[in-house]
Symmetry: none
Subunit: 398 residues, 2 copies
């Protein structure tokens, strides 16, 4: 829709994304949400002075998004049209490089006895052992049938794997019985075109069994979530904005890279995030700043930690806004209510700070966002709205 | 969308449907709606303590739904994709059995003079006469060209009819001129495949003329709304919930049956509805409780009766909630404003009572629902939302 309307100008848009920001009222905290309970004078003064409030639905009414769809929507992609596979997310999370055509997967070390998986997590082996075993696999099986194999350890029994070669397909069933006590399985092709890839990966898995033979627990591997880099329009081209991602967590750096954003070095704290923003402010028009702590607190069910994370972000907001972006958007990619200890379907509050907006004149939290003039929109529409407030969209039709 | 996300668990969802619940402010009642004017302490205390308010649009903005689309939407079916024909509704309303492939229709006795319909309603004959004439037709023409004919009287000149046989089609024009003073018509096929069915039904109508020849008023029949049982996914399979319908009116029992819900015996009053719910609570996960009185009051333009019906329902709500459903939804299938004495397009207020929600903290009525955190959604999205609050949906995407 907006492709032909985009005006290229140097107006700056900053997306300050507090992962899992949205929450629900907590009876133990006077029925307030963390965002409502947090002392955030800087954000609220922007909200009151020049804020437009609203809520986003990440994917659909009642639908709880994973991190992939949550971020794709925020960046204006239809999460039902584009999908980032689980393998891709895993290897991105491990900072591995992916090239076009590579097939990726999530891996587990597991315990195999008489061809039966007795423990899909190999007794949750130490991370150090996982690292050692990954190194052993990498040196023993660097390639298989002309396909290059790249493997990188994660935490405990987990690893990411990338198969690099000609004509590979990701149309492959999980090589994972998904439950203990079932037989060890090799990958099955979903269609004839995937036959060769499934056979190559199957050979790799059989060789891995030999390499790991002597291990008491981690004597086999499982692979799942086979996926390729999605064929997705690049963000800087789609919106005609040079774009910079500033994020502390590898997975979000990975998603940003996938969309063609520039990714700066990993900041150690919020202060350094702002320094990076300031140092590169002139060269870019769009900035994606990702804060993970709100989501972690939500997943832990830790109301106080979520409040603290929000208050921490509030302290850097004056430095961010001092750069005078045309548009500052503060929101999340989904809700992670402390009471539910996980992602949820609840609409996500957003605040758009701009001098081209409706100015709702109220503080930023879930309850006020229900009655904000931004309304309740699909997350995939938020980029268009931000572009509009940034005066980056031409008129539609004569 | 949600098909692959559904988690099967024993969390209970109750839909308490007050037919035609929504209304508009009445100048004669201090500009309050019946739902606003009703004294309903039980519903409102649930609303305040753990309620999420919002509104549904049954079909589309400005579109007034019939009972079929109203209920299909509530149950999460797209009312523009699935259609329950008028014939089907009529015969379901008469509690007739329909088998796959049957063609159904609504029937009228009418007056025919010199091949012209002089009265499409046969002078609104007594119900008893209609019953007698249906019995006469049934015994005179039990089958025609190997097609079984089932006929059941309704009120006055109305009856339902089912044609049961091989290879029947419902692609047939109404055998009804729709206005008095026009010629008697036989059914015309809409396409060549429907030719045989149209001819069979035409033969039946001609035989009926002979059987009814001596009648002073009801000497002919009209048939319209030819329709088959729609090819529609069954509710219990779609949502992976064993489902029970508790309704006093035949038509709603019919819709429930069509969707594959179990239907318990017809309750005589609200109290018995609750007893049925309680007696079968363990075996099911989803309960559809239908209350007709609100709609009847709306159709009659009787504000006080609608208030009374709502207050009557309020009295059984504590017994319903005492069963501790994970989610209790109180809403309507459409609005039936007293001022309009009929179904209307006005969005329908809903209340979701759950411990996983936003807790709006306000009483349940149309005006508060405008500002509820459930927002204004399409009715077909309400089931997804209820499933979400019931923790019955997995995450979408990695």
């Amino acid at each position: 829709m907006i492709d032909h309307l985009i005006l290229s100008n140097d107006n700056k848009i900053i997306f300050l994304i507090l992962d899992g920001l949205g929450d629900i009222p907590d009876p133990a905290h006077s029925h307030r949400t963390p965002l409502e309970a947090a002392n955030k004078p800087n954000i609220d003064s922007l909200a009151v002075e020049r804020g437009v409030l609203g809520r986003t639905i990440p994917v659909g009414v009642g639908i709880t998004p994973g991190s992939g769809p949550g971020h794709l929507s925020l960046f204006g992609y239809d999460p039902e049209e584009y999908e980032i596979g689980r393998g891709i997310l895993e290897v991105l999370g491990l900072n591995m490089e992916i090239r076009a055509g590579d097939v990726t997967a999530r891996g587990n070390f597991c315990t195999v006895r008489d061809n039966v998986i007795t423990d899909r997590r190999a007794g949750r082996i130490e991370t150090e052992l996982g690292q050692e075993l990954c190194a052993r696999l990498a040196s023993a099986i660097p390639t298989i049938d002309n396909v290059e194999v790249l493997i990188k350890p994660g935490v405990s029994h987990r690893f990411g794997i990338v198969f690099h070669g000609e004509g590979l397909s990701d149309e492959i069933e999980d090589a994972d019985p998904h439950k203990d006590g079932r037989p060890f399985v090799l990958p099955a092709p979903k269609n004839p075109q995937a036959k060769r890839t499934a056979s190559v990966i199957g050979s790799f898995m059989k060789k891995a069994l030999e390499v790991l033979k002597g291990e008491p627990k981690a004597n086999g591997i499982l692979l799942r979530g086979f996926s390729k880099r999605p064929d997705i329009p690049l963000f800087p081209e789609k919106y005609r904005m040079e774009s910079l991602a500033i994020t502390t967590y590898p997975m979000y750096r990975g998603i940003a890279k996938l969309l063609g954003m520039k990714v700066e070095k990993e900041p150690r704290d919020y202060g350094e995030s702002v320094s990076i923003l300031r140092d590169h402010y002139g060269k870019y028009q769009f900035f994606f700043m990702h804060i993970k702590e709100t989501d972690v607190a939500g997943e832990d069910g830790n109301f106080e930690a979520k409040v603290e994370a929000i208050e921490g972000v509030d302290k850097i907001v004056p430095d961010i806004y001092a750069l005078k972006p045309k548009v500052l958007v503060i929101t999340g990619d989904h809700s992670t209510p402390c009471a539910l200890k996980g992602h949820s379907w609840h609409p996500v509050p957003f605040l758009i700070v701009a001098d081209t907006g409706e100015r709702d004149g109220i503080a930023f939290h879930e309850k006020n966002c229900v009655r904000g003039s931004g309304g309740t929109i699909y997350a995939k529409e938020l980029m268009t709205l931000a572009m509009a407030y940034g005066l980056k969209l031409d008129k539609f039709g004569a």
